[in-house]
C-alpha cells in the first residue's frame, strides 16, 4: 500500500509540475501574423510558416525540422524590398529568411536574451529590441550598425518609426520612451518616468503625437516637438495593446476588456464598450469597421462610431491582432485546435491550419 502511495506521489509531482509550465522551460507565446497579398507569414512555436491565404496550403516552413530551444512568436517583418523576411526568436537570434523559399539568409546572434517583439525595418536598417534591455541595429546583412542602445529593463515593444523626426521611438519596461537616432544608435531625447512598464509599440500620428499605452492604467500622448505630455487618458486596468490611429480618432484598450475611441488631438472619450475578456492586441481597421479580439474567445466587429456589428465566437483565446487582405480575415487563436484560421467577410471559417487529419 505504502509502495503504491509513494509511486503515485512521484507521478503526481512530475505531472503537476509539468502541467504548471506545459514544458520544461516555460517559454510560450501567441502567434502573430504578417500578410502580403495572398501569402500569410506567421510564427508559431519552433517554426515560421508561409501559407496561401485562399486555401491554407503550406508554402514552406522554417526551419524544416523543429529545433529544441528555438521558438518564434513575434510577427515576421519584410525588409530589403520584400526580399527578406526578418523573424525574431526566443533563442536570442534574429533570422533573415527568403520569403519565396523559406531558406535562411543569415542570422544575427548578438543578443543575450530572447526577442519578444518584432524588429522595426526602415531604410536605415533593422532595429531589434531584446529582453536583454537592448536595442540592436543591424544592416540588411545582419552586420551591427552600432553598439546596442541600452535601457533599464527588458524591451517587449516593437520600436516605432517617426518620419517627422527621422528617429526611432523605443518603449521599455523601465517606464520610459526613448527617441533613438537610427544612424548612430544614440539617445536623442527621452521622457520622464511614465509610471508603468510599456510593452506595446507606440503609435505616431502625422500631426506629431507619440501615443503609448502603459501599465500605469493610462494612455499617454506626447508632443514630438516639445516632448511634453499633451494628454493622458486613464483606464481601469493595465493598458497593454498598441494604440491604433484612424484619422482623427485613436483606439485604445486595456486588460479589463474595455475598448475606447478617443479624439486624437485631445484624448477626449468618444465612445467605449466592454464586450468581456482582456484585450492585449491592437485592432484591425478596414472599410470603416474595427475588428478587435479578446481572450474570451470572441472577435468583435464595431463601426467607427461605436456600434457593435458582430460578436463572433472563436475557439481559443485571441491575443494576436487580426490580419486581413481585404477579403479574408486571419486570426491566430491560442489554446485552440487550429493555430491559424481564415474567415470570410460573413465570419464563416474557410479553413484552419494545421488541416484536420
Amino acid at each position: 500500500m505504502k509502495k503504491h502511495f509513494l509511486i503515485l506521489l512521484l507521478v503526481l509531482i512530475a505531472l503537476s509540475l509539468s502541467a504548471c509550465t506545459g514544458r520544461r522551460v516555460a517559454a510560450t507565446g501567441w502567434s502573430e501574423i504578417t500578410l502580403k497579398e495572398d501569402i500569410a507569414y506567421f510564427s508559431y512555436g519552433p517554426q515560421v510558416y508561409a501559407l496561401n491565404v485562399k486555401n491554407g496550403a503550406q508554402q514552406w516552413v522554417y526551419p524544416v525540422e523543429a529545433e529544441t530551444g528555438v521558438d518564434f512568436y513575434a510577427a515576421p517583418v519584410f525588409a530589403d524590398n520584400e526580399t527578406q523576411l526578418i523573424v525574431a526568436s526566443y533563442d536570442s537570434n534574429l533570422y533573415s529568411i527568403n520569403p519565396a523559399t523559406g531558406r535562411e539568409n543569415w542570422s544575427f546572434t548578438g543578443a543575450e536574451n530572447r526577442y519578444i517583439a518584432s524588429p522595426l525595418v526602415t531604410e536605415k536598417g533593422i532595429f531589434a529590441p531584446s529582453s536583454d534591455n537592448k536595442l540592436y541595429g543591424v544592416d540588411l546583412n545582419g552586420i551591427p550598425l552600432w553598439e546596442p542602445f541600452e535601457t533599464g529593463e527588458p524591451i517587449w515593444a516593437s520600436p516605432a518609426w517617426s518620419e517627422s523626426c527621422g528617429c526611432i521611438y523605443l518603449a521599455s519596461m523601465d517606464h520610459i520612451l526613448y527617441a533613438v537616432s537610427p544612424e548612430t544608435g544614440s539617445l536623442l531625447w527621452k521622457t520622464e518616468d511614465l509610471g508603468g512598464p510599456i510593452v506595446s509599440q507606440p503609435a505616431v500620428s502625422e500631426s506629431g503625437l507619440v501615443i503609448v499605452s502603459t501599465f500605469n492604467n493610462e494612455v499617454v500622448a506626447l508632443d514630438e516637438k516639445s516632448h511634453n505630455i499633451k494628454w493622458r487618458f486613464n483606464t481601469p486596468d493595465w493598458a497593454w495593446a498598441s494604440p491604433m490611429i484612424d484619422g482623427e480618432q485613436v483606439y485604445i484598450s486595456d486588460l479589463s476588456g474595455t475598448f475606447y475611441a478617443l479624439e486624437l488631438e485631445t484624448g477626449n472619450l468618444l465612445w467605449q464598450l466592454q464586450p468581456g475578456g482582456s484585450i492585449v492586441s491592437a485592432p484591425l481597421v478596414q472599410d470603416g469597421q474595427i475588428y478587435f479580439s479578446t481572450d474570451t474567445s470572441s472577435l468583435v466587429v464595431v463601426s467607427t462610431d461605436g456600434v457593435v456589428q458582430r460578436n463572433l465566437p472563436i475557439e481559443g483565446k485571441l491575443y494576436a491582432s487580426p490580419a486581413s487582405n481585404g477579403d479574408i480575415i486571419l486570426l491566430a487563436p491560442y489554446e485552440a485546435e487550429f493555430f491559424l484560421i481564415a474567415l470570410n467577410q460573413n465570419g464563416t471559417q474557410i479553413w484552419g491550419y494545421p488541416p484536420a487529419e
Partner: protein, 253 residues
C-alpha cells in the same frame, strides 16, 4: 478555489519580493521557510507518526510476526493491522500529513513560476492574479549567477555544471535519510516496507535532482530551501540522526 489559493500565494510571494528589494531568489527562500513554519503542525504530526512506526517496527513482537507469517502475506497483513489497532497507530499516520502538504508544494511551485512571468502569455496570466502590481513588473528573475526562469548551469572551466541540481540531490539525500531513519526490520523481518524505504531514500534524491536539472531553477532553489528547512526542523527538535546519513557497510559475519 485553486485559483484563489494560487492568487493568495502569488500575492504573499510578491509582497516578500517587494519587501526584500525586488530580489526573487530571496523571496523564494523566505516564502518557502514561511510555508514550512505555517505547515509545521502537520510536519510535527508526521514526524511523531514516523517515530511511533519505527519503534513498532523495531519491537520484538513485530519482528516475530514477520518471521512467523513470512510465507502467508494475507495473515501477516491481518496481524499487522491488529498490532496497529492495539498500539493505537495509524499506518497512514505519516502519509496523511504529507498528502495534505502536497497541494501546498504544488501551489508554491505554481506561484513561483506564474510570478516570474518572463513571456507575454505568462504576464497576461499573472495580471489576472495581481490587481495592483504594475510597479513590480518586470519581475527580476536574476539571482546570483542564475536566471530563475531557466534551468541553471554554472560554466566553470568551460564546463556547464548544474550546481543547483547537485545541491538538490545532496540536500534531498540528507533530508530523506533524516526523515526515514533505518528501520530495524530487514528484508526478511521488516518486509517490503524496509526495502521500499531504502529504495525511496536512494531514488527520491535523484528524482528531485532530475526535476531540478530540467525545470526552471526557481524550482531547484525551492527544493534546496525546503530541504534545508526540514533538516533544520529535525535538528531543532532533536530528532536528527546524523549517523544515518553515511551508508552503512555490511556487517562482517
Amino acid at each position: 478555489m485553486w485559483d484563489t489559493f494560487i492568487t493568495l500565494m502569488i500575492t504573499v510571494l510578491l509582497f516578500i519580493y517587494d519587501f526584500v528589494g525586488q530580489n526573487f531568489g530571496w523571496a523564494i527562500i523566505i516564502f518557502t521557510v514561511l510555508v514550512r513554519v505555517v505547515t509545521y503542525p502537520l510536519t510535527a504530526k508526521q514526524m511523531k507518526s514516523s517515530k511511533a512506526m519505527q519503534e513498532l517496527q523495531g519491537s520484538k513482537k513485530w519482528i516475530d510476526i514477520q518471521k512467523k507469517y513470512k510465507n502467508d502475506k494475507e495473515a501477516l497483513a491481518q496481524k499487522q493491522m491488529e498490532i496497529y489497532k492495539e498500539m493505537g497507530i495509524s499506518p497512514f499516520g505519516s502519509c496523511l500529513p504529507l498528502l495534505i502538504q502536497f497541494p501546498v508544494i504544488i501551489g508554491l511551485y505554481q506561484a513561483i513560476i506564474r510570478a516570474l512571468a518572463v513571456t507575454p502569455i505568462q504576464l497576461v496570466n499573472l495580471s489576472k492574479h495581481i490587481s495592483d502590481g504594475a510597479n513590480l513588473i518586470p519581475i527580476h528573475s536574476q539571482f546570483w549567477w542564475m536566471d530563475l526562469s531557466e534551468p541553471e548551469r554554472l560554466v566553470m572551466f568551460g564546463v556547464a555544471v548544474p550546481v543547483l541540481a547537485i545541491l538538490v540531490v545532496i540536500t534531498s539525500y540528507i533530508q530523506t535519510k533524516m526523515v526515514t531513519p533505518p528501520t530495524q526490520g530487514t528484508a526478511d523481518t521488516g518486509g517490503q516496507g524496509a526495502q521500499m524505504t531504502k529504495a525511496m531514500s536512494l531514488y527520491m534524491p535523484f528524482f528531485m535532482g532530475y526535476l531540478a536539472l530540467t525545470f526552471a531553477s526557481g524550482l531547484a532553489l525551492y527544493f534546496i530551501a525546503t530541504n534545508l528547512a526540514t533538516i533544520a526542523q529535525y535538528v531543532l527538535t532533536g530528532q536528527a540522526d546524523f549517523k544515518n546519513i553515511l551508508p552503512k557497510l555490511p556487517a562482517r559475519s
